[in-house]
Amino acid sequence: MTAFVEFNGRTYDTDEEGYLANLSDWSPEIADYMAKLDDCDLGDAHWEVINFLRAYYQKYQIAPAVRVLTKAIGKKLGKDKGNSKYLYQLFPYGPAKQACKYAGLPKPTGCV
């Protein structure tokens, strides 16, 4: 590993794009801190998505594709939130990449 994040006196290995190398290092605090490094303040709306992603990953061992995410968010949190526009407003670098990073999920391999 060639990169790391220093937080609360501890060093966390990451890859070049800032994804945690060890998923077990994740905590809400490190998520907040990683977001701050990207000039992003995580509010309740962000956390709804992050918590959803973590629960999805826990259950299925995969990060959902964006259209699966939007559909599922719409079903769980309401139709007004179940669209990619809403998700891109929260995560301007792309919900798959950015939200997965703060949620401590593996980096999407960018297969499509």
Binding site: T2, A3, D15, E16, T109, G110, C111, V112
Partner: protein, 130 residues
Amino acid sequence: MKFGIVINEGPYQHQSSDTAYHFTKAALAAGHTIVRVFYYHDGVNNGNNLATPPQDDRDIVKRWSALSKEHNLDLVVCVAAAQRRGIVDADQAKRSGKHAENLADGFRISGLGQLIETGIEADRLMVFGD
């Protein structure tokens, strides 16, 4: 007719890369088009230019590169499979902080979506593997 070729095994370990190569050559000779050759699973090792087979054996990696040059073939290595197995182009090496790149001439790394697109575009999809 448009063929898509999928290769799921690495060179030397299994004959499937050889069979795919001879099929591809025969299809080109018969005037057909090759939409793409897609390398998946251990097939991504067909794009490893660090391979150095002995002089009295065929050079499978070079053979694909040469065929690609001659016929302008699109040789695509799956990114997810390549990352697992350490097949890396210059861009990937930079982004993942690796010291080396080893993708052979004529190959490019791209997503699995290219496999699905090959299936959509080709009249026949030929799968070679183990």
